[in-house]
Amino acid sequence: MKDLLPTATPARARAAVREIIRPHRAVAAAGFGLLIVATSVGLLVQPLLGYVVDLVAGRQPATLLTTPVALLVLVGVVQGLLTSWGLVLVARFGETALAELRERFVERALSLPLERVERAGSGDLTSRVTGDVARVAEAVRSALPALARSLLSIVLTLVAMAVLDWRFMVAALLAIPVQLHTGRWYVRNAVPLYAAQRVATGEQQQQLLDTLAGATTVRSLRAEADHLARVDGRSRAAVELTMRGVHLMLRFYSRLHIGEYIGLAAVLAAGVLLVGEGAVTVGTATAAALYFLNLFGPINTALALLDDAQAATASLARLIGVADVAATETPRPAHGDGVSVRGLGHAYEPGRPVLHGVDLEIEPGKRVALVGPSGAGKTTLAKIVAGVHEPTTGTVRAPAGIAMVTQEVHVFAGPLADDLRLASPQATDADLRAALATVEALEWAEALPDGLATVVGQGGHRLTGAQRQQLALARLVLTDPALAVLDEATAEAGSTGARTLERAVEQAIDGRTALIVAHRLTQAASADRVVVMDGGRVVEDGSHDDLRQAGGRYAGHWAAWTRHHAHDDQ
């Protein structure tokens, strides 16, 4: 079961939103104020049209029409101007607050303990960074202004109807119970449905990527039919959920039509009643009917935006949940240039320890190789020493500057030089070249289409596995750490590229304290000390020569390795 990252409670989310909005209160107030005035001015159109009707009904000469017509033009121009201005201010308010929110979120997301992110599955954080940020942005960008304008139109139109005659407003309000009930019914059903739809769409996307990116493997294994069925199944599930959403939405509009009809009938009936009593003119009744016809749009917009607003609220809670995670990382006190590990134990899940009572000393400037079968706990120990994981028990003392390079390499999208500068923002071009030269990568880097300015990473120039590893080592050189931790940094290159990488590693860690998880024993042989692990414990610890002569496990490993290397070893 995955342990997802936290989601903020509604109360906490509201508080966080208030906190973000506070510095922008003035802009927000001005923006919404302008929209209120603009909408109010726009509502003068219907009485002016009503006045035209009254002039006609009263058999007045056509020349009297000039005044209401000129006023109609004026109303349009003023409303247009004020709306523009108001929308600009609302956008400035919303977008600035949004930028602050996403920056705060990314800052926190990057400072989360890696262990916490891994427990949640990397997809959790990624989907929040992409999906949730986009949903909140979409809401701020389109739903917020549309919702604001719709609500203003509705409220002010009702007020305007009341000004014509309070009974018109009462008639219009007869539609409200139907609409409110429909809106609540819709949101209740839509929120879980759309959540399920997003999950299904994500799964479909994932399956497509899985199958299409592995097309060669699928063909080799003759698994085409199986994969087609998988894709079809995911796609079918997404189609059915989409259609359920469509049905729901269409039933929603059907119910709104009932509300519209009730309100329209009531307003017309009020017209008959009031004109009969002589309380209002036919023109006023016309204005009321036109007002009501004009309410359909804003009401439908507002209700249809309810689920956008709901989805955005849910996304917001997921963003604030992460932004609120207390920074639990307490910097470890620095300790010389060496490493000292005492009684270290670690369990990713309670009750399933992967390390037991590990002790490890590395003197400053010395190089230690970790050796052992897969699953022995080498990577876990390396991560703890590097400070990436917090141990469950025991103590670790290590120098201040640590850099870790693993076999999982990521190339950051953008120019190659920018990728390197993440390790050292102040580095000059000469520094970058020097670092690349240290790991024997300068030659190919300069041969790229635009040299160091070549865009690499997703969507850019594709680097080979070995090149990506060299890039990772060049970042390490730029970081210039006192302690370098390398986890099988030569594994992905295949056997021929591995030798180039081994040289690159040698040069990158020259003069540093180093802990190396090695599966190629040449790396162990050139280390100052070899530590053999098995089952989460250190089983042997000594120099290459001592261990080889001791006849223990390392000697066994070495024998397996040298059986095929006999000629070279002599």
């Binding site: 035209v52 002039l55 006609v56 109609l72 109303v75 349009g76 121009v77 709306t83 600009v88 956008a91 977008e95 600035t96 930028a99 990314v106 800052e107 890696l114 990397s122 990624t126 994932q206 497509l208 990527l209 899985d210 199958t211 299409l212 592995g214 060669t216 063909r219 080799s220 003759r222 894709v231 989409t242 259609m243 039509h257 009809y261 017309l268 008959v272 004109v275 016309t286 009917a289 036109l290 016809l293 050796v371 897969s374 870790m404 693993t406 076999q407 990521h410 950051f412 993440l422 390790a423 992905e492 056997s495 021929t496 030798r499 066994g556 397996a560 390795w561 095929h564 290397h565 070279d568």
Partner: protein
């Protein structure tokens, strides 16, 4: 070669009945919507102006019938249209995936996985949307037609003003907003960029943590976010201005209508109710016209998507067959003559049925080219390859892969458990993966496993397929020495009597082979046992020993 038009017309034909039903109902809905302002005008004229309750009841009854009809047609028309769109997209998605996975290959040659996924999702969806757009277009034209008839029968002058004025208004708004739209598109791209940067930094979280570069990354993101904010605000200003212009233009048009209609009514040319209807219809007309504008954009985008889908579907296969059958029992003798391809130069090579052969290449490109040809992802530029005397070129690639499995170094694992990917416990054991529980989920592309674990599961999967000929490429590059030696032994035992080719420079694997071929300069440079080659060939020593 099929065109985008073929893809579109096939999609439309496939959903014909839904499309016809949806169009009829959609037309009914728009006709109903057009009638509402007309009926309101009539009710005001005949019931409200005369304060007559009985007339009101009559008009309310008529209005109720119209409302019921329009609501019903909307609900079921839109349902048919949406169903047609999603079903067409689904069918297309299946066709696209089937084409990519086709044994002949060729569709994924020049396209990255992300692009293929984009075509199977976004482009398929857009082609589906064309169906909905066609339906909406028919409905929109119906609304336009009904409104026109009503207006022109009321008064030719007023009708012409509305019918000419409304499209002119929209066109003017469109014209004014065109430069703004272009600007906002550029700026929205910059906004999307910010979200891309954030996602990229998060996927590189491990690297950032390893370097302690979180702060530098945050600074970089903040910079991107601020640039994006500035762009978004520029786009928002443009959009707000466009909004304001449309509002002002609409106001001016209504004023014009009031002037013309009022004058006509004052002259007695039209009645009061007709004036109200005309104003209502002018407001209504914006609906169908906006619909038609939407239809236009969807059709343009749909055509572009259909062209991309068509190009993918009609991509020529990389390899074909001429229908020659392989023997019922494949023995597994391989014979290469004069093969030139990638890093291979006039390569002659023979592998006896049932042999375990190691192939050590001094140049990785030669190894890749050999695997490429044996797996028939492509045919060699020149030369022939035969399996049991049958030229590979003549065999249907699907049939060939029943006999030959090439397990590539970068083979991927698929979402599921270790057992789903690696097969039987016996195979997992042989691949040195017995320590992994078969129920362990491997995650997206095997991401939950370590590099070494992924490699061993992939090897188990290859062994479990039990093909007469198995070609392995660097199957143990991320495995420790002891396990590697064990794997070499079990591959030998498990594949006893079946042709197995191991392309690698790992001494542990090569020493388990019956004989080893050294590929140098694109051809076989030496041929002997691992031990003999170590003894006599300096190039070999250099290639396989660290």
């Amino acid at each position: 070669m099929q065109s985008g038009r073929d893809v579109l017309s096939r999609a439309i034909r496939g959903q014909r009945s839904r499309l016809i039903a949806g169009s009829l109902l959609g037309a009914g809905h728009q006709a109903g919507e057009a009638l509402v302002p007309v009926l309101v005008g009539l009710a005001i004229d005949q019931a409200v102006a005369g304060a007559s309750w009985s007339r009101l009841l009559v008009w309310l009854a008529v209005l109720a019938v119209v409302y019921f009809g329009l609501s019903f047609s909307y609900r079921f028309g839109a349902r048919a249209g949406e169903r047609a769109a999603t079903e067409a997209a689904h069918d297309l998605r299946s066709a696209i995936v089937a084409r990519v996975l086709h044994p002949g290959g060729g569709a994924d040659r020049d396209r990255l996985p992300g692009e293929l996924t984009g075509i199977a999702t976004e482009d398929a969806r857009r082609v589906g949307m064309v169906l909905l757009a066609v339906l909406t277009g028919i409905a929109g034209f119906t609304g336009l037609a009904v409104a026109s008839v009503v207006l022109l029968t009321t008064s030719v002058q007023l009708g012409l003003i509305v019918l000419v004025g409304t499209p002119a208004l929209l066109w003017l708004g469109h014209l004014l907003s065109k430069p703004l739209e272009r600007r906002s598109a550029v700026e929205q791209e910059s906004a999307a960029h910010a979200s891309g940067v954030a996602a990229d930094l998060v996927s590189g979280l491990r690297v950032l943590k390893g370097l302690g570069a979180e702060q530098a990354a945050v600074e970089r993101y903040r910079h991107t976010s601020r640039t994006s904010l500035a762009a978004t605000l520029r786009a928002a200003r443009a959009e707000a201005l466009q909004n304001g212009v449309v509002i002002a233009l609409t106001g001016a048009f209504i004023a014009l209508l009031a002037l013309a209609g009022g004058t006509l009514a004052a002259n007695g040319t039209i009645t009061l109710g007709q004036l109200v209807s005309a104003v209502g219809l002018a407001l209504f007309l914006q609906g169908p016209l906006y619909m038609l504008a939407w239809v236009n954009t969807e059709l343009a985008q749909g055509r572009a998507s259909a062209a991309r889908v068509a190009a993918l579907l009609s991509a020529p296969p990389a390899v074909t067959g001429t229908g020659t059958e392989l023997p019922a029992q494949v023995k597994g003798a391989l014979r290469l003559r004069g093969v030139t391809h990638g890093g291979l130069r006039e390569l002659d090579l023979d592998i006896v049925a049932g042999e375990l052969v190691g192939v050590a290449a001094t140049d990785p490109a030669a190894a890749t080219a050999l695997l490429h040809c044996l797996g028939r992802h492509g045919d060699p530029e020149s030369g022939t390859i035969e399996l049991d005397g049958v030229p590979l070129r003549e065999v249907d690639p699907a049939l060939l892969r029943q006999a030959v499995l090439v397990a590539e170094h970068d083979a991927v694992l698929f979402e599921g458990t270790v057992a789903d990917n690696g097969g039987t416990p016996e195979a997992l054991d042989a691949a040195g993966a017995a320590d992994l529980s078969p129920e362990t989920p491997v995650g997206e592309r095997g991401g939950s496993l370590s590099g070494g674990q992924r490699q061993r599961v992939a090897l188990a999967r290859a062994l479990d397929a039990r093909r007469p000929v198995l070609v392995l490429h660097d199957p143990t590059s991320a495995v420790d020495a002891v396990t590697e030696a064990r794997i070499a032994e079990s591959v030998r035992r498990l594949r006893h009597g079946q042709t197995t080719v191991v392309v690698t420079t790992s001494p542990a694997l090569l020493s388990a082979a019956d004989r080893v071929l050294l590929l140098d300069g694109g051809r076989v440079a030496d041929d002997a046992s691992h031990a003999d080659l170590l003894q006599r060939n300096a190039d070999y020593r250099k290639a396989v020993l660290a």
